[in-house]
């Protein structure tokens, strides 16, 4: 009988036999003494390299540079290593060990950059400057006659179709360009909850625009 860990999207996830490299990581990290210390140092170096690369890639967009960026990468690598060692028993062999471990450091970098966002003093959260809306979607001022009615209908739909909370989140993300992770930090929420809220808001807005002939109803499929 095959041991099934869990079912995701109707697909049974089966713990495969560990590849030799993953098995070796588990063996040394689960042990004691010098071998474990050496493995921890090696893993930390790998995590740090990834954190540095990812922080450098994302940092400039968020105006984080220099020592601050380096510090963020070191903290992300250290926190990821702690989480990995604490959750070692949860590794089920569904992927290579290193891929599972790298996920921790990537998510740490994301979370730390989200928290860092609020060090900027100039970020409006709920300011409703609707004149920004055309630019957010790349509508050209020269073609205003073509999109004016569409965006007016979108504004009306935001007003009439969304709940107050959905409207706040729409304004923060769409009008004010607040990243989802940063907004989650500010609202004491999480990425998943805000995404679901926006998912429902997007569905309502599309339905309203489609009902008024501005957009087609969406047929699920790949673009």
């Amino acid at each position: 009988m095959t041991a099934v860990n869990r079912v995701v999207e109707g697909m049974p996830i089966v713990a495969a036999r560990l590849d030799p490299e993953s098995a070796e990581w588990l063996r040394v990290l689960g042990g004691v003494g010098r071998q474990r210390e050496a493995a921890l140092a090696r893993l930390h170096a790998m995590l740090l390299r990834i954190a540095q690369a990812e922080a450098r890639r994302r940092g400039p967009r968020l105006r984080i540079t220099g020592p601050e960026l380096e510090d963020l990468a070191y903290q992300a690598a250290a926190d990821a290593l702690l989480a990995i060692t604490a959750k070692l028993s949860q590794f089920r062999g569904e992927s290579r060990f290193t891929t599972w471990a790298y996920k921790f450091v990537i998510l740490e970098v994301s979370a730390k950059i989200g928290r860092h966002f609020w060090r900027r003093p100039d970020v409006p959260l709920y300011a409703e400057d609707w004149d920004r809306l055309p630019g957010r979607f790349g509508f050209e001022p020269a073609q205003q006659s073509e999109w004016r009615d569409l965006l007016a209908a979108l504004c009306r739909a935001v007003e009439t179709e969304l709940t107050p909370r959905q409207r706040e989140v729409f304004v923060a993300i769409v009008l004010n360009g607040v990243p989802l992770d940063a907004l989650a930090v500010r609202l004491g929420s999480n990425r998943n909850a805000l995404y679901k809220m926006m998912f429902d808001a997007r569905r309502k807005l599309r339905a309203a625009l489609a009902a008024n002939g501005y957009l087609d109803h969406h047929t699920p499929g790949r673009s």
Binding site: V8, E54, Y102, S110, G138, R191, P220
Partner: protein, 73 residues
């Protein structure tokens, strides 16, 4: 991409979309499939739909895939 296309894309929702929590829970499995050339999007269409629609999760996916490929070199 013009404004109409950008707005259309923004408002498009896929009922198969599994959301951030499930996509992130399975991200390492999905990335290993992609890195090995397996048809991950066919095996996990709900995760594929999510990663296409969610900017932060899509960015984490690209970052993890890059990390796996870079360290494999």
């Amino acid at each position: 991409m013009n404004g109409w296309q950008a707005l259309d894309r923004f408002l498009r929702t896929d009922p198969r979309d599994v959301g951030c929590a499930e996509a992130m829970e399975m991200l390492h499995v999905y990335v290993d499939l992609v890195a090995s050339g397996a048809p991950a999007e066919q095996q996990y269409p709900g995760i594929d739909a999510h990663l296409r629609a969610c900017g932060p999760c899509g960015e984490d996916f690209e970052a993890l895939l890059a990390a796996v490929r870079d360290t494999a070199d």
